[in-house]
Subunit: 347 residues, 2 copies
Amino acid sequence: MAKSVTLKDVAQRVGVTAAAASMALSGHERISAATRDAVRRAADELGYVPSSAGRALRNQRAGAVALVVPNSSHHVFGHMYFMHVLTGMSRAASAHDAQVIVSTNADEEGGVAAYERVMRSRSADGVIVTSAAIDDRNMERLVASGLPVVLIGNAPSLPDAASVGIDDVAATRRITEHLIDAHGRRRLVHVTGTLDHQTGLDRREGFLAAVRVHGVEVDALVVEGDLGEESGADAIRALLDAGKEFDGVVFANDDMATGGMRVLRAAGVDVPGAVSVVGFDDFGLARVTTPAITTVRVPAEEMARLATERLFDLVDGTSDGPTHRELPVSIVVRESCGCGPEHRAED
Amino acid sequence: MAKSVTLKDVAQRVGVTAAAASMALSGHERISAATRDAVRRAADELGYVPSSAGRALRNQRAGAVALVVPNSSHHVFGHMYFMHVLTGMSRAASAHDAQVIVSTNADEEGGVAAYERVMRSRSADGVIVTSAAIDDRNMERLVASGLPVVLIGNAPSLPDAASVGIDDVAATRRITEHLIDAHGRRRLVHVTGTLDHQTGLDRREGFLAAVRVHGVEVDALVVEGDLGEESGADAIRALLDAGKEFDGVVFANDDMATGGMRVLRAAGVDVPGAVSVVGFDDFGLARVTTPAITTVRVPAEEMARLATERLFDLVDGTSDGPTHRELPVSIVVRESCGCGPEHRAED
DNA sequence: CTGAAAGCGCTTACAG
DNA sequence: CTGAAAGCGCTTACAG
């Protein structure tokens, strides 16, 4: 490793101690303006940047936050989602001069879960966890340990956890009602997400609430999917093969909607003429399919930004206990439901 | 911060010094098997994980590698690309017990570039840089500084840099030739990427080489794009408005191809009937459009994995100077060119 | 063979 | 007011 510039180097050049140089750089008042400026100039000239390790050790603080991605969700969520989350985290972390560590947690069964490794090694001062399965024991342990954690999403089973999410139930209910009210659809199908994740349960509940209220539940069908494009295709194929009749499909995400629409088209079923389709997420895919998908826009980046802000509060001790923050979502109306050109229905 | 378990805690429980405990955990031979096991058991029981800061300070090594994303390329590359890169990096980093830091480098004009901050603060032992502009002075400085850096992509202007890339020229030439040879297209258009990036130049060169060799350069048109979906749309719209005639378009990426196809469809031009279209990247988008896009599959994850392996070689000093590694690419034949069902043409 | 010091780079509490 | 020690957690080179 190339020898790097330390505080001592800066101090020596100015003829003060490292301690004084440290204070000078931090603007401590006991250092005269003259030496303060001299030290800062020297630091600039030498290209001094504080050692993160030295600082972390002394301050008992890593100056970094981590994004932890449970194994289970590797296939579960599309890549785009994580990019939005990373972008949001980076934005917040930059504002706090902190680094972002990504722990895509390969395969760790027994032993300390990757969640905890990051924390116990103090590489990060806190972690953002997203899309963990409901019964993820490691999550529970981590939250119980008292280490700073903020979840993205809703976790009713972890009431002690700070979290930032959206109202999946209400959103799915609204978009389902759009099919019923605006398009007169009555024979509705819901293709669920993974049901070991809270979003899967919530979106299904929202769908069921809508059909119940509108009295069209007798014809409603629920098919289990896994959020993958193929599972959307499989679900529709199974329905068609079984001779089921339906005029609207509420997919728990856009990926499945894409797969489902592909099968419908191949079967000669017109979307949205014969069957209205809606999705969920709007992470990029929904806009580029043909027809473009009417969907619920999940503000992933903003969720991540807020979650990270909250995490810093926790780390700094500037906060008052865990709270759940809920963000509004909007429905982005495109073509797959039968509406005209794209527009957005605000919350 | 919750008080964490240190080596001293482990040592005390067993009744040895921290130094001995350290050696025991690392399996140093001077520690007897009995105490070695006792220490390890104690470490397990207490949930001891070494402090990354302590270790980094002592070892003069962060145990982390960073992914640096220049500002300039925020819009330039789609999100998917970065996820592939991150996945590849994580894989390699895990194998070396290293963390991955993401430096999405907000806005830093003067002063030390984010590139260098990460390195000088020794938060990371080396960095992977992807998609830097050709004339990025900070890149040059970083490479010149001798700090471990590996580029993803080709950088002929930085011969001293280790890098992992693909042959953009050959790949674009091949896919252009596919339009000429397999589909008899003669009036070809190329919509370029950003020309301040090497891939932009290389893909254009590949296109030009193909039309030259096949004697169809008289009708060839080159339009400058910026890799964004809209710029693909704009390029085609301009061509149509100008009354240009063409029967094949080689887009420098799939995003632009998507935008271009949208405009063609809106103008009533059949793809691939009247105009064949091909893209580049295959990061996910090309598969879901209608028609699906025939494209060059860029092995981004594998490039990142190899680049990271190379980076560790550099960090460890296990390597012999900078080298450029080139990965093979394949052409994924789908519908937009006029071919039948999807298949892949290997390199 | 083993015990314990030294020192990585930093910052703050303490001694003078 | 200012100088310099102490100590964060770790590991290895050194002293005994």
